[in-house]
Symmetry: C2
Subunit: 153 residues, 2 copies
Amino acid sequence: MDDRRKSQLNKILVLFYFAYRTFTDKPDQILAKHHLQRVHHRILFFVGHFPGLTVNQLLAVLEVSKQALHKPLKQLVELGFVHNAPAERDRRSRLLTLTDTGEALEKELSDAQRVFLDQIFTEAGTGTEEAWVQIMSALSQKRPAVGFLKDLQ
Amino acid sequence: MDDRRKSQLNKILVLFYFAYRTFTDKPDQILAKHHLQRVHHRILFFVGHFPGLTVNQLLAVLEVSKQALHKPLKQLVELGFVHNAPAERDRRSRLLTLTDTGEALEKELSDAQRVFLDQIFTEAGTGTEEAWVQIMSALSQKRPAVGFLKDLQ
DNA sequence: AATATTAAGTCAATAACATTGACATAAAGC
DNA sequence: GCTTTATGTCAATGTTATTGACTTAATATT
């Protein structure tokens, strides 16, 4: 790798860092008003987009321990954002869904990001979004896959 | 925003989350072997790429409090990775630089990311990298700028 | 020269969070 | 019946973040 390439890649490392921080900025601010943190957003996001997710699946996708998930998940249930019911087939596992207020909060948080990103992609030229998605998909696939994620649409 | 667009943007939110996690994965593993964390990498990265950075500038770019930076920075100095000398013009401020071993560790950490990203960009088609950089630059610029960052090369 | 300001370093109290290990319950599977 | 699985919880410990305060040294202001 020559110096010129290395320098370009360094620029890319900085961009990734700052871009991700911008990406999490607005939701973090909204969460703070509710005295919640980023982990709560992640829970709301994945439960919202994969309703009926079990606790174990949520642990797998977030890559955290059961004990680490316990507190924020319990808070979301107690605050009435997340609902938790035994599965019919296997009543040991519990299916997570969002309540109406949970849907509303998740929408508020993710809308901030969707509107933001939509604006950026619209301002960029044709094909830019496809290219970005291609790169980020390649990066995402370089990690252990979680089965149900392929249902994402 | 129609449902189809919203669905595409949801996919993008997931990609951003997982791609960033892949991005930080290898450095995190290397850091763990040294009993260090991501904040140490950030310090090493910015000190390495902006030698002579002052403590205040580092605080600004990382957006953390002086007290939060204190411990990890002190550790890096005590471990001999970072050097800390009074500035000539204004001897109150102290200029941070990497030692030789600090350079080596920073290189090890960032190389993991550079090699990884270089591979992804190479595998993607022509123009893909430029598009990715365009999007991430736009995102990065949507946040308070830190003066010296424009020197980035 | 005296005073104020700035940069940096540190300490202490508190709160928040993660980690490990253990244990309990209920439901399924064998 | 015995074992395994999914979940929930607790406690102890360690780590990290946050807030506020204070100190030192150097520089700027008046």
